[in-house]
Subunit: 182 residues, 2 copies
DNA sequence: AGCATGCCTGACCGATCGGTCAGATGCCGA
DNA sequence: TCGGCATCTGACCGATCGGTCAGGCATGCT
């Protein structure tokens, strides 16, 4: 059954996203995707140059979402509003980001140090500031990025700090989180 | 070149661990492992029943390490000592655990809800208590497990709580971590 | 009606995978 | 010295992979 190109394109992306998230990139065959979409493997390769191209288009989306959040914060009417947007959007983004990109971590180590993901190290300056106030304490920045990326520094993702500096920061973070309420 | 069985066994495990961490399980062939060890693919399959058996033996180790930490805490001479061991060991274990099992997450989603990993939900009771004091606040427990597993709850790993309850706990955790020092 | 174009198919290709097997090699005790 | 066992090898197998290709079938324009 023939469909218009944009719809097929979107269908393939959606099916691939589900499959990749469930079975990983290498664990998903073009045949799997084609079966979900309801077409032949060759049809999938008619809409995408190769398997890598599907992945590339998929992984570009979290970057866009982070930029959108950044823009929403930039457009906030006052600092309190910005902080509220940042706090909720940050956690929400972290949760979604982790879930949607989990399959990449095992199969493509180092991917997050390369573009476009490496931009994540620099983009969220305003976002971190809105969230952590204007504190320039490294611990606040580390903590924010830790939450964003999900203790990602343990894999050396995003945070460009030697492990000797990261461990104490992480320890402070944990101790704080566990302090009893006053 | 022939080697004694225990040494070969260990060599293969070590090589496989490095390869899996770098390229994932499916991204590593038995040929890759054999080449690193310096023997034939068939020799690898002489020491291990199949590829899965290598993985199974590898992933059993973090579980052992967690049990060792638990035992060290149990053997502490006083609560302060126990807390010190827990705090440092906890972060260290989390970092190593994340690094050594990162390749599993994308390729085997749901693995951490199954034995032996699912035991991690129950084993660290003493560990969490030593770390968080004797607080029974759910937030403290969640925070401890979050650090242990690296925001793992975002993938639904380990922490058996509906997302509706996890999000606020995570938000509290972030806000606390970013509070200015008094 | 004829033709071009967009979308798609089934058949096929070479490469690589995990795993098997018969036999070679080396060592060690009888 | 000989036989048996542990260790290992190269050749081979069927399955699956990503990707290619020639052609089919609509649709819409001329």
């Amino acid at each position: 059954m023939t469909r218009a190109a944009p719809e097929r394109h979107a269908d393939i992306l959606a099916a691939a996203g589900r499959r990749f998230a469930q079975s990983g990139y290498r664990g998903t065959s073009l045949q799997d995707i084609a079966a979900d979409v309801g077409c032949s493997k060759a049809a999938v390769l008619y809409h995408f140059a190769d398997k890598k191209a599907i992945l590339a288009e998929l992984v570009a989306r979290p970057i866009d979402q982070l930029r959108e959040l950044d823009e929403r914060i930039a457009g906030a009417s006052n600092p309190a509003e910005a902080q509220r947007i940042a706090a909720e959007g940050f956690v929400d983004l972290a949760v979604r980001f982790r879930r949607e990109t989990a399959f990449l971590r095992g199969e493509f180590p180092g991917l997050f140090q390369q573009p476009p993901f490496s931009h994540l190290q620099h983009i969220p300056d305003r976002l971190v500031h809105a969230f952590a106030g204007h504190s320039d304490r490294p611990a606040a920045r580390v903590a924010a990025l830790v939450i964003l990326a999900g203790i990602a520094e343990t894999c050396g993702e995003f945070i460009d700090l030697p492990e000797a500096e990261l461990r104490p920061a992480l320890l402070v973070l944990v101790r704080r989180a566990l302090e009893p309420v006053n």
